[in-house]
Symmetry: C2
Subunit: 754 residues, 2 copies
């Protein structure tokens, strides 16, 4: 794999920046110097703008390759330029298969043909504008024409296959039917294939995503009977972006893999369907009754299948390359043009994409307009602001990944922080990212007022964490967070980043400090996720009426960008990061102990024949999968590094608070330079086991979770997967990276307090 990773030239952006410098007036106002600046920034944000922009962006299907997606890129480009930004479109040529023929039938049973269509919704005119939409499908599945008996495997996750094994049922040569949820979409066909299945049907069960969750659209926000969740099933946990150009930008001249060698494609036909269609298959299936936690909300008894009901599944796609359009807009820094604060959100959707992604896109545009307004009033950022409107996030973070890969050298030198948004909704702030930015998030959240409760966004988030932590079913982590939230002196913890949006190439591949910001929990867009019902009408009624929270997101993300761009002193604090790492180390040690105890216990139960004796023998049961014994590991490098980091971080933070105001401009510049690249120390060669594109040793998308993060992934996943040698090896590598990070803090500390 590593031969695929080549260095790329990064001339394009530098050119633009030079042009941008020329276009801007000289700086006379700066964030931080002038609190009124942020008030003027806020004043430039008008919810009515966001609404009308979303209506425009989401008026027609805007998936990759569509006319409207290109038109949106052009329109966004024009907006940036009209607000005084130096902007251009950068294109890539990427593999993006589009369906030519999809079909799913139930042969012999009245020959039911799945409708595979989403009927328009009365009162939502947008939902009928499907002329340029693609059939519902999942991108990067394997084309095929298969007929085979169906097996229901619940969510199709690893535990479900373990349970299936206990039931004594195999999916070999079968088509699996699984429901959405409990894990990442792309894992479902991949695990099915690993277990020998020849096809995969994924449906949205009304228990998780339909009338069992909420009233369905248009009465409520939830998924109606005909709604289908599209999505990508490419293995972005191996690498995201164009499947044919891992590690390099998919320019015209890039060297490409052949499709047959592309490792992230799934090789069995896979189709997403509605629960209205799924019921016809599920209600006819026989065999054992599905385990209790496999049952959804269809009015049927769920069965695993006994071979008597087959499905005929056909998918055929156009596998040609398509052009994608990233919009890149720059406000060049007046003093430190080579320190970049990056801010991005994608513009492509699966159909109309109102909530996902245009709700975040219009927030980004609102920031850009307000920043343009500040420039018009005479302000100039100290550092360079780079605003990015990505294409092709949906199929696999392609627009961002290709751009990051194409500009990786320049980014390694110049990128300070990347701030991402995506879909947004009414509710409470959720922030994830690099914990060195935890205090920044806390301060920004404290400076912005929640429109529903009229307290700060930070105060509301603290209240929500405290109440959630007191609930009877709160997790230990939730209870711990509640205690932290009750401590006004402690910045609120932010979660680690996995994947699922455009921050991934920045933080996972290059180790650039990143943030992901989102409001949610009250406005509900899950029910139209990746369907043709994700429209401006739905967003306006159910997700963010009045666009108050989309505008609020602009104020939060924009403030973070502004403060980073204009900071006179570092906003980072490292004790928060050290505390998080200390927690992760405790977790991986506990994980190893728990796995060891479970394996020991299972071994005793097997010796005692307890499983057989406890089982109901009238159900044909399989043996449990035997857990391998778990050795003891050398966690000392990790523990020593965590201790070192903790000491260094506390001392550095204290020194920064006490002494940075007195530093000379030259020393301060040196401090900034030291810190600008510190996070990259966490992402050294050779990357994670089996997936060298992922270099960050602190966080990564789990190979079996897809979007959600695994922390200390080299160590944690080695324990989970039983790769014992990798546990010690990555405890060492991760410890070394943390030692280098701590050493960098100590060096920088010496600059402040020599």
């Amino acid at each position: 794999m590593s031969s695929l990773f080549s260095r790329v030239s990064a001339g394009l952006l530098s050119c633009c920046l030079t042009a941008a410098v020329m276009a801007l007036p000289p700086a006379d106002v700066r964030a931080g110097d002038d609190p009124a600046l942020e008030q003027r920034f806020d004043a430039g944000i008008d919810p009515q703008d966001l609404s009308s922009w979303m209506k425009q962006l989401a008026s027609q299907p805007n998936q990759v390759g569509s006319l409207h997606d290109k038109a949106n890129a052009d329109w966004i480009l024009a907006q940036f330029r009209s607000w005084g930004w130096d902007a251009h479109i950068e294109t890539f040529r990427v593999l993006y298969p589009t369906p030519l023929r999809v079909s799913l039938t139930l042969p012999g049973h009245d020959s039911f043909h799945a409708t595979l269509t989403e009927p328009p919704i009365p009162g939502d005119a947008t939902t009928s504008r499907l002329k340029d939409a693609l059939p519902a499908y999942v991108a990067y599945q394997g084309d095929g024409d298969v007929t085979a008996p169906l097996v229901y495997v619940n969510y199709g996750m690893p535990d479900d296959y373990k349970a299936l094994q206990r039931l004594g049922v195999s999916v070999k040569g079968r088509i699996v039917i699984v429901r959405y949820g409990a894990g990442w979409r792309g894992l479902k066909p991949r695990l099915a294939l690993q277990h020998g299945a020849v096809g995969c049907i994924i449906y949205s069960d009304p228990a998780d995503d339909g009338y069992g969750a909420q009233d369905v659209y248009p009465q409520g926000p939830a998924r109606p009977a005909g709604g289908v969740q599209r999505g990508s099933v490419a293995d972005t946990t191996e690498f995201p972006g164009d499947p044919l150009t891992p590690g390099v930008g998919a320019t015209d001249s890039a060297q490409r893999l052949s499709i047959k060698d592309a490792p992230t494609l799934v090789r069995i036909p896979t189709l997403p369907i509605s629960y209205s269609d799924a019921r016809h298959f599920l209600e006819r299936m026989g065999g054992q009754v599905a385990p209790a936690n496999w049952r959804g909300a269809l009015p049927i008894t769920y069965h695993v299948g006994d071979g008597s009901v087959s499905a005929h599944l056909v998918v055929e796609s156009d596998w040609s390359l398509k052009t994608i359009y990233d919009v890149v807009a720059v406000l060049k820094g007046a003093e430190l043009p080579d320190q970049w604060v990056l801010r991005g959100n994608h513009h492509d959707g699966w159909v109309f994409g109102a909530s996902d992604p245009e709700s975040g896109q219009v927030a980004l545009l609102a920031e850009a307009k307000a920043l343009g307004g500040l420039v018009a009033q005479g302000w100039r950022p100290k550092r360079t602001l780079v605003y990015l409107s990505w294409d092709a996030e949906e199929p696999g973070l392609i627009g961002s990944t290709e751009w990051v890969e194409a500009h990786s050298e320049e980014l390694r030198q110049k990128a300070l922080v990347y701030i991402n948004t995506d879909a947004n909704a009414r509710g409470i702030l959720d922030a994830e990212g690099s914990q060195s930015l935890q205090r920044l998030v806390d301060e920004v959240a404290a400076a912005v007022v929640d429109p529903e409760t009229h307290v700060s966004v930070a105060a509301r988030r603290r209240a929500a964490m405290r109440v959630a932590g007191e609930e009877a079913d709160a997790s230990p982590a939730g209870k711990a967070d509640a205690r932290i939230a009750a401590d006004a002196g402690h910045s609120l913890p932010i979660g680690a980043l996995g994947s699922g949006s455009d921050f991934s190439p920045f933080i996972q591949h290059l180790g650039i400090a990143s943030l992901s910001l989102q409001f949610g929990g009250e406005g509900d867009w899950d029910g139209v996720y990746h369907s043709s019902y994700d429209t401006w009408e739905h967003h306006s009624r159910f997700v963010d009426p009045g666009f108050a929270y989309d505008a609020l997101l602009a104020k939060v993300a924009g403030r973070a960008a502004l403060r980073l761009a204009d900071a006179e002193q570092p906003v980072q604090r490292y004790a928060d990061f050290a505390e998080a790492v200390g927690g992760y180390v405790t977790e991986v040690k506990a994980l190893a102990d728990a796995r060891r105890a479970a394996a020991d216990q299972q071994s005793q139960l097997l010796t005692a024949d307890a499983y057989r004796l406890a089982d109901d023998p009238t159900l044909s049961r399989g043996d449990p999968l035997v857990l391998p014994p778990v050795p003891h590991f050398n966690f000392a490098p990790l523990e020593n590094a965590a201790d070192h980091l903790s000491r260094a971080a506390k001392e550095f933070d204290a020194a920064l608070s006490a002494g940075s105001a007195q530093l000379s401009p030259g020393t301060m510049a040196h401090v900034f330079a030291q810190l600008q690249t510190i996070e990259q120390l966490l992402a050294p060669e050779p990357g994670l086991p089996g997936r060298p594109w992922y270099r960050n040793l602190i966080c990564a998308p789990g190979r079996l979770t897809g979007y959600s993060a695994k922390t200390l992934p080299g160590v944690r996943e080695a324990i989970e997967d039983g790769r014992w040698d990798d546990v010690d090896r990555y405890a060492q590598l991760t410890g070394q990276a943390l030692e280098r990070y701590a050493a960098r803090l100590e060096e920088t500390h010496r600059l402040i307090a020599p």
Copy 2:
């Protein structure tokens, strides 16, 4: 209340026993002396008998007052007599209201009339024999004719009303519609009334009890769309038995409360309905979407109700007294006729009652026949065996309670142990009761072979507990049980008794050591529970094919009775009981601490206004119910008594094991006499707070759980209810009872090892 508790004469039974003595040949063989005796006992048990007896007993509706219920009593009497038992029928006159008119309609909405009927099942001829059945109803609800808007309150349990309060919704003046489950039926209308409701509809949701659980009858065992769960809603947690004669036998001459003063009746009309009927109401209801854990498996979005949908509910009953028929059968003890081993199971059902109760009834009859066979072979029990076939268990343990109340003085003197069974199914042994009998249960279970796995019933139960304890969602108690189950030297823990079957008057009112025995977990009778589908056909197909486990129950319960009747040395062990009590003391202390912490925490959250800030303000929310602060309590009397008991029990058990074989017959008789009444020391005056009928201070049905037990109920429920004075008072009273128990052990110990 206590004035209602009077002493009753107990002449009747003594008369019978005298007669029995005359009928029996002299003893020459005895259990324990002769292991072959138990093999001969087993040989007398024929599954074919059990099948044909059940077919007979369950051939027609056999609810209290029905012709077939009386015919069954007569038939059972004849069987006992044919097997050489001295048997008679004892009658009582009890309040048992029967429905004259039940009706439920949805006015204005196409005027839907609930069917309130259970359609016959193809292939099950019994289900069409409904001529003598009553309409589906719940006994002891309050008649009425009400029309009011509906409010859905999930299971209608205390936590559900707390959640409703948070939603800002009241049931005042409304009819509640609640689903079966999560707690005792009778609590549902009672809590509804307490919260101001004017009517109550209880339905079986298919998620818990229908297609969401299993295939429905006749394809599978689960409740079909038209199935209705009948039952009693009398408050048996205040006292069971005839609602008009608490504490005394309901003989013709008994003093009776007037119906209007009877405290255990519910005063609002209440009706049980099927999910087929319930759907018509639930799917039309508006208002807020029900909380996630309130949603069942109907294909609708569950709403709490907004006042727009009303129901018209009518119940009118015949409130006359009815005669009930207990069958009492005696094998008088050859040596110790005044030491009684009692064994009972009821014979009345709600309709046909095949699984509930006839599966246990035929086990009891099989024992009686086999014991009769031993008598015919020359055996006679050392102590007296009293076999009891109760009537009127279903409306509220009436047959057993009235008999116990009528014979309480004699029972206090003579009863050694009561062994109960009720519905039974294929699966694993579940035993509950007095922990002094834990080792007996263990030994009996080790002596009987499971027909499916060919290991002992005890070995299978150990395996099941070990496997369950290793499951990811195992409770701490389950994990602890798993550790015990893995220790072959430790007898398996048995659960504490609450209510829900005929053991209650014995253990709860008189403090007589009791056991409840049942197989289950594999054969499934929940789906026809208290419906007209609980038939011989259903039992034979789904609950216990071949009647192997009903016959096994006879072997286990019969062995327990035999060993107790013939024991040369005490079978009781007291360290098991002391260990259980020690655990309960730890629990109530932890409960007080947890309540205190929760109240403190809630107070902090209220002060911080955290609930309001965390809430979604677009939903009209109510404030949380404020938890009162929890003081510290004096648990020392309980702790000291538990320590005392632990020491005394260990020493006594050791002495008994070491020395009892050498005791003179006179000393051994003295030891037996001391132990015969020791359990009654746990049930002194004045009984539990607010419910003096319940005297047992170690276990009782929870006032808010109905069937399931609360241990140390005087203390535990006082903590739960915020009756702080009662906590200290009952810690004292319970401690004193345990001290007396420990002292009795010490006295008895001195007899063995002076």
